[in-house]
């Protein structure tokens, strides 16, 4: 992947000097480090652009490269800074690296992140606990029998997540959450298939299928309706007050993203972060590691309203369609403006099919939705349910199937 650009291109770009080629290769490397999808073809085109006279003025070259190398709005916006820093020597403190972008996963400098991140997490064990590896949790390896696994899960099913302290127990809860996500996926898909039915004639297939009848259409082929599969969008509250639950829910979301064809995930505390890309990491432990960094930005309370506003403004159009269920996992302790939360919930309700609000605190004794935030939000919520045990998560499944 590294040092691919100019080596192969010398013959094509005689007029571009060796020195410029080397600089260009280094620039491509910088872009790759920043998460730009830059391949061989882009390198070649960049060289030919320089040969074609675009290098005459820095402004022109910057604009040309910007079009060539950017491929989304975030790239577009940070490109000028990168270009100036590299070619014009304007100093930036460090290379800006796109955290959370899919490409960044291949990036060696990011791979080293988990080891850096373990240090600050030591202190807080219950929350975003790293999953112990197999040798740390012997109970995971032995006793592969299905029944045994299931019965163990049954015992766990009623334990409140916040009361799980021992790492092995947490690990099991995580596995159960992942399994739950998988089960939900299969059922939902099956239902999807059963609902298909033909609604108009497919001439191409009809004629092809009736060649043996001399072209007389005896057996008709109908077109099937293509159903948009259910899309699940999860907004997870990662604030301090939720810290006892975030770990399990992150694992659940990881399972959901892995299993559903269409699912998106966001984290919020005082601001909103798009985490689907980070969560699509196959290895759950690694995904959680990447996320724990984002989640730890918490501290100053929860601004659900503002986070929803960001969501509605910048993400909703892309991630929500007519068969979308939005799942908000939060305790509803809003430290921002409760009226804003109400308004944004109304806007969200207009867009999507269903809003499910999972509140882990709901099952606590004596809990009533008194907080201003949750009061403002509840009128727009279709299902308000507790989610403090695995069983309560499972109980949601029939509801999701009805969407």
């Amino acid at each position: 992947m590294s040092c691919c650009g100019p080596g192969a291109n010398y013959s094509e770009i005689d007029e571009v000097s060796r020195f410029v080629s080397a600089r260009l290769a280094a620039f491509l490397e910088t872009l790759r480090d920043s998460g730009f999808p830059v391949g061989l073809a882009e390198g070649r085109d960049a060289a030919s652009l320089m040969g074609a006279g675009y290098a005459a003025r820095p402004g022109l070259l910057r604009s040309a490269f910007k079009h060539l190398f950017s491929s989304r709005r975030s790239d577009w916006e940070k490109f000028d800074g990168l270009f100036d820093a590299f070619w014009l020597g304007k100093r930036v403190r460090s290379r800006s690296i796109a955290t959370g972008s899919a490409k960044a996963a291949n990036n060696p400098s990011l791979k080293s992140l988990p080891s850096n991140s373990t240090a600050p997490r030591r202190g807080d064990e219950s929350a975003l606990d790293q999953i112990p590896s197999a040798d740390e949790a012997p109970g995971e390896r032995d006793g592969e029998g299905r029944m045994e696994g299931a019965s163990r899960a049954d015992n766990l099913a009623e334990v409140d997540f916040r009361n799980m302290a021992d790492p092995a127990q947490i690990e099991q809860a995580h596995l159960a959450a992942a399994r739950l996500a998988r089960i939900m996926r299969t059922r939902l898909t099956r239902r999807d298939l059963a609902r298909r039915r033909g609604y108009r004639l497919d001439l191409r297939r009809t004629i092809h299928g009736n060649i043996s009848h001399g072209g007389v259409p005896i057996r008709l082929v109908r077109r099937r309706r293509k159903e948009t599969p259910l899309r699940l969008v999860v907004l997870l509250d990662a604030s301090g007050s939720m810290s006892m639950y975030t770990g399990v829910f992150l694992r659940f979301i990881h399972g959901v993203l892995d299993q559903f064809r269409q699912a998106e995930a966001f984290l919020f505390h005082t601001r909103l972060a798009y985490v689907s890309d980070a969560m699509k990491e196959k290895d759950a432990a690694r995904a959680l590691d990447r996320l724990s960094i984002m989640a730890q930005g918490a501290g100053g309370g929860t601004k659900i309203g503002e986070s929803l506003q960001t969501f509605n403004r910048w993400h909703a159009a892309r991630v929500i369609h007519s068969r979308t269920c939005v799942m908000i996992v939060s305790d509803g302790y809003e430290t921002g403006d409760a009226a804003l939360l109400g308004r944004e919930m109304a806007a969200l309700a207009r867009r999507c099919r269903r809003i499910v609000w999972l509140n882990p605190m709901m099952a606590w004794q004596g809990y009533a939705p008194e907080a201003a935030g949750i009061k403002a939000a509840l009128p727009h919520v279709d299902l308000y349910a507790p989610a403090n045990t695995l069983n309560s998560l499972t109980a949601l499944e029939p509801y999701l199937m009805k969407l």
Partner: protein
């Protein structure tokens, strides 16, 4: 290679006021023979770019509007089955090979936009509009077409491009496009124009809009875009509004604040936005417009 200033001038002559970056992108499109992907909010004039480009090259604009469920038979080609059936019935008793040769010939082939675009003598502008609305499968197919510019029709064989069209894709961001497609294309983010450029757009498009009125309108719209609205007005809305104001003979916005507020319906398209921009808000915005 056309210089980017020439391109900007040519675009302006055809009624599209481009910024220099877009002109650069278009000159690169010709040089590198890559498609251009335009992203941006609805109503910033993405589709207009393709129209203006066709005017600049004095060539045909072939448009493929994408939608969910768009498939090859609507985008690429389709056999004219009704005619084929008719032909089979009419020439009953012919030799089977002869029938086959006849009904699978060009005469019975219906050209759809993508096939049409590669079979013109003069390279047309191919506009693939709102590509994010099409399905993933279609996107993959498009990717193949855009790199090879050839189409294989099982009954006829492979049809190679006579000319390579100028391809413009637009996306509204309703769905995330694949990295492969993005990488294949040059990327340009179309933002709302600044007040000066919008004023020039109004002057170019609306007959009878003077320089000072155009600038006032553009500044006003710029202010409205900064309000917290559900549906931010695009350039098309600005033009509507300008046309309305010119139509009722408003020369200066300050002379007719009443009319300004009433005609604001050209810009505000939801009930919520309409009730948010009250008369006071209008007056406040008007106050900022010099």
């Amino acid at each position: 290679m056309k210089d980017r200033n020439e391109i900007a001038q040519a675009l302006a002559a055809s009624g599209y006021i481009a910024d220099t970056e877009l002109a650069t992108a278009i000159s690169m499109m010709q040089l590198l023979k890559r498609p251009l992907l335009l992203e941006g909010e609805a109503g910033v004039g993405k589709t207009e770019v393709a129209k203006a480009l066709a005017a600049v090259h004095a060539t045909e604009l072939i448009r493929l509007q994408c939608y969910e469920g768009l498939d090859q038979s609507a985008a690429l080609y389709e056999w004219n089955y009704q005619r084929q059936l008719l032909s089979i019935q009419a020439h009953r008793g012919d030799d089977a090979d002869a029938v086959e040769d006849r009904i699978f010939s060009e005469k019975y082939l219906l050209e759809r936009p993508l096939l049409a675009a590669i079979r013109r003598d003069r390279p047309p502008v191919l506009l693939i509009d709102e590509v994010d609305r099409a399905d993933d499968e279609f996107e993959a197919f498009l990717l193949e077409l855009l790199s090879d510019f050839q189409v294989s029709i099982p009954e006829l064989g492979t049809i190679s491009a006579i000319t390579i069209p100028h391809v413009v894709l637009t996306s509204n961001g309703t769905r995330e496009l694949s990295d492969a497609l993005r990488r294949r294309c040059l990327y340009h983010y179309v933002d709302y124009p600044d007040a000066d450029r919008e004023a020039r757009i109004i002057m170019a498009r609306i007959e009878g809009a003077g320089a000072s009125l155009s600038l006032q309108i553009a500044r006003m719209v710029e202010g409205i875009r900064k309000e917290e609205l559900r549906k931010v007005p695009g350039v098309a809305e600005t033009l509507d509004w300008a046309a309305a104001l010119v139509g009722i003979d408003v020369r200066d916005l300050h002379d007719a604040p009443e009319t300004v507020h009433e005609t604001m319906m050209c810009l505000l398209k939801t009930h919520e936005d309409k009730s948010r921009v009250t008369r006071e808000v209008t007056d406040r915005l008007l106050g900022k417009v010099a």
